[in-house]
């Protein structure tokens, strides 16, 4: 799941991202690209996990308590050290819509004498399908952490040569050996975010910071037609789970999943709940008063406030103790990238504090780099003081809960529960 899921170039989240029925071709492409290495046992390397959490077919499921170091293979080596960057080249990025500051791209192009082009996708499934087709020649890709197995076993990304990325020392320590990619062999961190509750203080009297169970805040009939949840199975069923007091957001327990789905159905009956990802516009405009929301979207609220309305009326709650949904994206270099050296340098560039601040000022989403603190973001006028709660802290990745890859059969349960909740 991702905050930019379904975004189109006009920055509206719509339902246009229908996936093609030609997925069977994509799956075949994966098999072809993997050259028979879809099963870990067939790969030339070995996958290291500390315990035995596996999806169907022996594919490991990375967890904070079950870190995974993905295998390396001889036919997909990292580039050699000490290579000169490609000259007069065009670095091609494959990214979410409106998810990187064009100023960063211009500055990088100027520094390394190259052009930078961005091609966008609307959801991770569509992006993977395109990559598996083997018809595209992008250099850099911005995946979520839950598709690492597909990327590695499908040999869609290449291992990183760390000598080109000295700025990794600027990243938070948790991301220099993340559980989803031990020894950061394939990824560097990109954006980080939390999922919480946004509300309009001028219309809603309740304050989630004083509520016994703030996750239950949307369940209020008196705000009928003014309540919205995110249009995403994992996020919204997770909301139902947390409302029910369950914080294992990767649960495989059918009863818990069903109960969470029923909680969302109750919410629908109670409030005629909206289901959309337009938290960044609907809360500032006042159309919605309580919105299940992503931190980065609400951090961008100042850009969407109507004239004469102060941004202070928008609030964002995330558990102060950090025990809530957190997530992060990554940046990778694609296998067969035409400009692998430039791609590595780009990863390095996007870990530099100044570039990170420039980027955050554009898309609202933080990056886990030392120096990115609430105080700094306020001082740089990237964030209003009233929305400091949207800032993600390093401790959140130790106390928080992440929505990670789950077994296929469990995923079907989550999706079915969500479908029924949406159709109540």
């Amino acid at each position: 799941m991702h905050p930019r899921e379904g975004w189109t170039e006009d920055r509206r989240a719509g339902g246009l991202s229908r996936r093609s029925f030609l997925r069977q071709g994509a799956a075949a492409g994966l098999l072809a690209a993997g050259a028979g290495s879809l099963l870990p046992g067939c790969s030339s390397g070995t996958t290291t996990t500390t315990s035995g959490a596996h999806a169907t077919g022996g594919i490991p499921l990375p967890r904070p308590n079950n870190p995974v170091t993905w295998p390396l293979s001889k036919d997909n080596p990292a580039i050699k050290s000490g290579l000169a960057p490609e000259q007069n080249a065009t670095l091609r990025l494959f990214n979410w819509v409106a998810y990187i500051n064009p100023d960063c791209l211009k500055a990088f192009g100027k520094k390394y004498n190259c052009k930078v082009e961005v091609t966008t996708f609307q959801n991770m499934d569509a992006a993977l399908a395109k990559l598996r087709s083997g018809q595209l020649n992008f250099d850099v890709f911005f995946p979520t952490v839950d598709v690492m197995a597909q990327l590695v076993y499908g040999k869609l990304i290449q291992p990183l040569n760390h000598s080109y990325i000295p700025n990794i020392t600027q990243a938070w320590p948790d991301f220099t050996n993340p559980f989803y990619d031990g020894k950061w062999q394939y990824t560097v961190p990109y954006t980080i975010y939390t999922t919480g509750i946004a509300w309009r203080k001028d219309h809603v009297n309740e304050n989630p910071y004083t509520m016994a169970n703030p996750w239950a805040m949307p369940w209020q009939a008196k705000h009928k037609n003014r309540v919205a949840i995110l249009d995403d199975a994992r996020e919204s069923i997770s909301l139902g789970l947390m409302k029910n007091g369950i914080f294992n957001l990767n649960t495989t327990n059918p009863n818990q999943i069903t109960a969470a789905g029923k909680a969302i159905q109750d919410l629908a009956r109670l409030t005629n709940v909206h289901v959309d990802n337009n938290d960044y516009t609907e809360v500032p405009s006042g159309q919605i008063w309580i919105h299940h929301a992503w931190s980065g979207d609400i951090a961008a609220a100042p850009s969407y406030m109507p004239k004469g309305v102060n941004v202070d009326v928008v609030g964002y709650w995330f558990p102060p103790d950090g025990r809530g949904p957190v997530g992060n994206d990554t940046i990778t270099v694609l296998r067969g990238a035409p400009n692998p050296v430039l791609a590595h340098l780009f990863l390095n560039y996007m870990l530099d504090l100044n570039n990170v601040l420039t980027n955050i000022s554009f898309n609202g989403y933080m990056q886990p780099v030392n120096g990115v603190t609430p105080q700094r973001l306020v001082k740089e006028q990237i964030l209003p003081p009233s929305l400091m709660s949207t800032v993600v802290l390093p401790s959140y990745f130790r106390r928080g809960v992440m929505e990670l890859q789950i077994p296929v059969a469990t995923n079907a349960l989550w999706e079915q529960a969500w479908l029924q909740a949406k159709s109540t």
């Binding site: 959801n123 005629n272 909206h274 159309q287 479908l419 949406k422």
Partner: protein, 314 residues
């Protein structure tokens, strides 16, 4: 036989007829092949997904050999319709109500417009036609997005209604109201209906209407007994052209409401197709296929009615 006319024997005449038939068949062939490719191949692809399986990552894999098809997706779809956890029934009912209402409103608006253009627009007929076609120049999505702005609490719709003293408080049009979805459907599809009705009404021989008047019928009775029966086929065609896409529409509801209380059947299929990892795509393929088969019924009725009408005219 006239002087100079060549004698043509029965054998040659038959050969000429055969060549004539083949010529027209050859002309039609590209279109028929194209339609077959666009209908049969996608339909079979849907079947292959519906009877297919999931790979290790949950990605649907089509199974092309019918002997290897799985019934899992069909069974799951059946449980959604009639099982203990069935939830699709009320959505189908809601979809039918919305579409019936939207079609009726569309007809009530479109018919007078088309009638005016066909009968009374005179030299400005072309201008009116261009104006009718103009909405097609803008994409459906953009038109719906425009309505989001118009229907905001402080949007022009509420301002206009307040100005006319029709409302005292701004109406939350985007708050999940069924009526907003119905009007969205009307707005989105009405140009199709107007054009079809115009084409039908324009073809009515004015002499028939004049004959009705000459025989002593008033304006209303002439309309009821002459114009309306003669435009029945156009009404049927127009309604079919608008109702079929309305039944599968998911976008209007998604943009103008987005609440579970107004979910239409198209939204269910859309959600299944866009499920994370594609785990529900197979079930979505079953629903898509069943939906297609259900929609074939009115198409058959249309073909039968058209044939009857043609025979009646002959």
């Amino acid at each position: 036989m006239a002087p100079g006319q060549e004698h043509v024997g029965p054998g040659r005449r038959n050969r000429q007829k055969e060549a004539h038939r083949l010529f027209w068949a050859a002309l039609a062939a590209p279109g028929i092949i194209w339609l077959a490719l666009l209908f049969i191949v996608p339909f079979y692809a849907i079947l292959a997904i519906a009877g297919g399986q999931l790979d290790l990552f949950g990605v649907p894999v089509a199974v092309w050999n019918p002997l290897h098809w799985s019934s899992a997706n069909f069974s799951a779809a059946w449980h959604d319709v009639a099982g203990s956890s069935a939830f699709v029934g009320p959505i189908i009912g809601r979809t039918l109500v919305y579409v019936a209402l939207a079609s009726l409103i569309s007809l009530l608006i479109a018919y007078p417009v088309a009638y005016f253009v066909a009968r009374f627009a005179g030299r400005r007929k072309a201008l009116f036609l261009v104006l009718l076609i103009a909405p097609f120049w803008i994409s459906y999505m953009m038109r719906m997005l425009a309505w989001i702005d118009l229907l905001q609490a402080n949007g022009y719709v509420n301002k206009a209604l307040s100005l006319l003293h029709l409302i005292s408080q701004p109406v939350n049009w985007l708050g999940g109201l069924g009526i907003t979805v119905v009007f969205g459907l009307v707005y989105g599809y009405i140009p199709y209906l107007i054009l079809v009705l115009y084409a039908g009404l324009d073809r009515i021989d004015p002499a028939l209407i004049e004959a009705g008047r000459d025989l002593g019928l008033g304006r209303v009775r002439t309309f009821v007994h002459v114009t309306l029966p003669l435009s029945r086929q156009a009404i049927l065609t127009g309604m079919l052209i608008t109702m079929l896409p309305m039944l599968g529409d998911y976008f209007t509801n998604q943009l103008l409401s987005g609440t579970s209380g107004t979910t239409m059947f198209g939204n269910v299929i859309d959600d299944q197709l866009s499920s994370s990892g594609g785990v529900l795509q197979g079930e979505g393929a079953v629903f898509s296929m069943l939906f297609l088969l259900v929609l074939v019924a009115p198409m058959i009725y249309y073909v039968v009615a058209t044939n009857r009408s043609s025979q009646g005219a002959a």
